[in-house]
Amino acid sequence: MAFAHETYLCLAALALFFVSLGTPAPGVARRWALVLAAVGVVTAVGTFSSRADLFHGTYRVDAFSQSFKVLIAIGYLLAVALGEGVRGINREHEPEYYLFLTLSVLGLTFLVSGVELLTLYIALELASYALYILVPLRRSEYTHQVEAGIKYVMFGAVASGISLFGMSYVFGMAHTTRVDELLRMFPSLASSPMGIVGLTMMLGGFFFKLALFPFHFWTPDIYQGAANETTGVIATLPKIGAVAVLIRLTGLGAGESAGFVGVLTVLAVLSMTYGNLAALVQTDLKRLLGFSSISHAGFMVTGILSGTVAGYAGAMYYVAGYLLMNLALFFVIYTLAPRGENVSLDDLRGLHRRAPLLAFTLAVGAFGLAGIPPTAGFAGKFFVLTAALSRGNLALVIIAALNTAIGVFYYLKMVKAAYSPPEEGVAEPEGRVGLSPVGQVLGYGFVLSILLVGALPGSIVGLFRRALDWVA
């Protein structure tokens, strides 16, 4: 029963595959997906305390993998529930959209349980290929999705190649692909130049998922080009998987190697600074969030590179909060675009009159990403910075703190737009934005969960800390 969740997801994907064989009426596939995703949360929570190995110990179910699976399952459910069906995607592709979404989730679920390099690689590819197909799936009246799709495949393939190449170095030095054995050799591995190069390249494929500098180039274009609902998925779920793998691969020994920590520090600093500065001038909301996600990747790595339990738990908490806040914003974007068009900052103007709840959700999500207390964003940032400073990484912490201040500027731009009247001479969009009952529940749910998770992070962090006993 330990693998009930994976088995269930396979069956769910299969069920959706059969749905997609026919030509179901609009909304049918979504209802299927919704029910399947909801049950998926149940199975993920149900197998939370399972412990088991599979395939000669290359696939492991432990507290660590299960807590990530719960996160992924929740994100999956939220992504499906986001609105009243696919708006930005051609109706006839609706079943396929949910099918590939589920396959990608399946891949990520495998990813967080993989404890062997090839297993990780296969899971990563499964998660990626499904997303490669999702990106160009957009209504034919938009044009950028094809470019975005090709870019995503190209960058993804290159990143995977780099990752494989790095794995070959690591294998060459360590003569093993098992993560637990690798971790034992980590100190010697990470102290030789070749080991550092190999490790960094190996992690490249996951940096790509995380959108960490310099594997970030795809982010803005794909965010802008893909349909709103797809972007919401790409922005959140793969990052959970990436954080899980990064923690597993660096283990608890990462902090011991000054060289490896140095590389990660440089990447984190570049990522948060570059993402923030580029986000300052964006006008397309999704593109802005793309750059902001590059910056957040830097913060997540800040937690990971500290190499302490506190830092890892901080990074896990950070990505969980990030999931909530980002999905909240994509929920607003999705709801604001009845035909799945891109939303610009100016489109947000006057939102507090047309849809007070949406405006408030946007504000809470944006303040959360900016890291203002009492949201989950602040608590995450606090944990991560505390962990980094406890390793004496003062310069990194100061740069991160200054980046927080820079980031506030563009998050505030979103809130400012939502709470200010339309520009002179521009007609105010007519009428209120309607919200279905599900939409209302989601809006209140996002607001409450972001605030509650932020105000009472103790039990969640405690849970993650216990889960981390299983790493290393």
């Binding site: 000054a258 608590a379 400073l389 003062l394 310069a395 740069i399 400012k416």
Partner: protein, 555 residues
């Protein structure tokens, strides 16, 4: 680690938690109410109840001890040793009371002024109240920081949604300026934790730190607080925010928010980083003098009433920081009293401007000149508060400024002598304002009152009550400051004692810089902050310098 103070059950109920959560609960309940009038009455009822509850703080307060009282404590985030710890001493007592008593007036002065989005307005106002009390009552640094930052959001909304024509500019500037100032505060808080292994403020005070560590922590704290006060040259957000904010927003800003900066200096800088304070005090003392003179001179040139009062705040708060950095009993007593006084007087002046604005829809002095004949009761109050603002004997500010000046003269005669013109300037700009508003004949520029003076009605009951309430305190503190000084005496004596510890001779500045980045030479910090390397954080596993690459990008 055992906290240095015990949980206090003297009242039998957790009064500080009640004070924090009552407005929050009121705000949430208010969301369910319908009708603007109901909402106004509800907000008034909540804030008045809050004020009534808070009186028990004063009656139950033991002024003979410097210990924190009404202490509450619970684990909040055990993994990081963060506690939900509350408690007040003689300094925070007065500020909490100031907050709870000013808030009903904020509701009252918004009674007619706020016509749109009433529900959201009072929601923000009540959340604001909870956060402000949290700032003054928090005994855990993280809890303090959470309240400190959380306050920005409702205040931002108060300006951005209900503000004047340039509200977007003013609100964003307010938010960014104050937030940017406090990000390094967070770094300093974490560094303190890593050094002392606790976030509890009383425990942090009890521990001594090396000079270099204190120096950087102090700078990080001081930047955040100096912006909040605001001290010259960090004051530029204040006039913009004041001018654009609705009356209630201006009152909150002037009466409570500005006090948080000076409260921070008193609560954290003096006890935790005494060596750095004594080393850097001259900078802040002269900065205070500059603030006093600069605020006074600029106020002299204003034609907008709100701007005039905003700049006068810069000057008045200069007296407060002057008193604090004198680090003697008289100076700090004067400073704390002056914090309360400024809250009362400047709050009242902003209410006065608001009252006039509701009638003439202009804040220009020229547009409001010569209303004395039509609004005699109003100008009587305005006169009283103006006198208080310029520290006329018999009013509250006189006592405060006198104490600060006595403290200053006992320490540095030149400094004190330079503060005197500040008091003169206050008299000049306030009397000029008063003269124009009450008597000045128009130069044909303004809209003739004589033609249509129906809109220049004198105060109604609501407005009269607000001003009368505040004027009671103006006169009370002016004639008999004893009850107010009595509660703070012991606490201030304790702070002065904490701040007067002797320490090793300060190193020179380049050496200090090396304590921050031991690898020296090239680094990306670029900003002064604190550093744990003067005395190694206990949690650190590897003692080596941070890799040089980390500073690469700069910013």
């Amino acid at each position: 680690m055992t906290p240095a103070f015990a949980i206090d059950h003297s009242l039998g109920y957790p009064i500080l938690s009640i004070l924090i959560f009552l407005p929050l609960a009121g705000a949430v309940v208010g969301l369910a109410l319908r009708g603007d009038r109901t909402l106004r009455l509800w907000a008034l009822a909540v804030t008045v109840l809050e004020a009534v509850v808070s009186v028990a703080l004063y009656t139950g307060f033991d002024p003979t001890t410097a210990k924190f009282q009404f202490v509450e404590m619970a684990d909040w985030i055990p993994a990081f040793g963060i506690r939900y710890a509350l408690g007040i001493d003689g300094i925070s007592l007065l500020l909490v009371l100031l907050t709870t008593f000013v808030m009903p007036l904020c509701v009252l002065c918004s009674w007619k002024y706020i016509e749109k989005r009433v529900k959201e307005f009072f929601f923000s106002l009540l959340v604001m109240e909870a956060a402000m009390i949290g700032v003054f009552a928090a005994l855990d640094l993280v809890l303090f920081y959470v309240f400190w930052e959380a306050m920005l959001i409702p205040m931002y909304l108060l300006i951005a949604v209900w503000g004047g024509p340039r509200k977007v500019y003013a609100s964003v500037k307010f938010f960014l300026y104050t937030l940017a100032g406090s990000v390094l505060l967070l770094v300093a808080i974490i560094a303190l934790y890593l050094n002392a292994d606790t976030f509890l403020i009383p425990d942090l005070m009890a521990k001594g730190y090396g000079f270099a560590f204190q120096f950087w922590v102090f700078l990080a704290f001081a930047l955040a607080f100096a912006i909040k006060v605001p001290m010259f040259p960090f004051h530029t957000w204040l006039p913009a925010a004041h001018v654009e904010a609705p009356t209630a927003g201006s009152v909150i800003l002037a009466s409570v928010l500005l006090k948080m900066g000076t409260y921070g200096f008193l609560r954290f800088c003096l006890p935790i980083t005494p060596l750095a304070v004594s080393y850097l005090a001259p900078v802040f003392l002269w900065g205070s003098i500059v603030s006093i003179l600069y605020g006074g001179f600029v106020a002299l040139g204003q034609s907008d009433m709100k701007k005039l009062i905003a700049y006068s705040s810069v000057g008045h708060m200069g007296f407060v920081t002057l008193g604090i950095f004198l680090v003697n009993l008289r100076g700090i007593e004067g400073a704390v009293l002056q914090m309360v006084n400024h809250g009362i007087t400047t709050g009242a002046l902003f209410i006065c401007v608001g009252i006039l604005y509701e009638r003439t829809h202009s804040r220009q002095i020229a547009d409001n000149s010569a209303v004395g004949a039509f609004m005699p009761v109003y100008v009587a109050f305005l006169g009283l508060f103006s006198l208080s603002s310029l520290a006329f004997p018999g009013t509250n500010s006189f006592v405060g400024e006198l104490l600060v000046l006595v403290g200053a003269f006992s320490q540095n005669k030149l400094l004190a002598a330079l503060a005197i013109p500040g008091a003169l300037l206050a008299a000049t700009y306030m009397l000029r304002l008063l003269q124009k508003i009450i008597w000045a004949r128009s130069d044909g520029h303004h809209h003739g009152h004589d033609a249509d003076d129906r809109y220049l009605k004198d105060l109604d009951l609501r407005e009269g009550f607000m001003l009368a309430f505040l004027s009671v305190f103006v006169v009370w503190i002016g004639l008999s400051p004893g009850p107010f000084l009595r509660v703070m005496d012991t606490s201030i004596g304790h702070v002065v004692a904490q701040a007067s510890v002797a320490g090793e001779v300060p190193e020179d500045l380049p050496a200090l810089w090396n304590t921050l980045f031991p690898s020296a030479g090239h680094h990306g910090g670029g900003e002064p902050a604190q550093g744990g390397h003067g005395n190694e954080p206990p949690a650190t596993g590897h003692g080596g310098p941070p890799p040089a690459e980390q500073g690469a990008p700069g910013h």
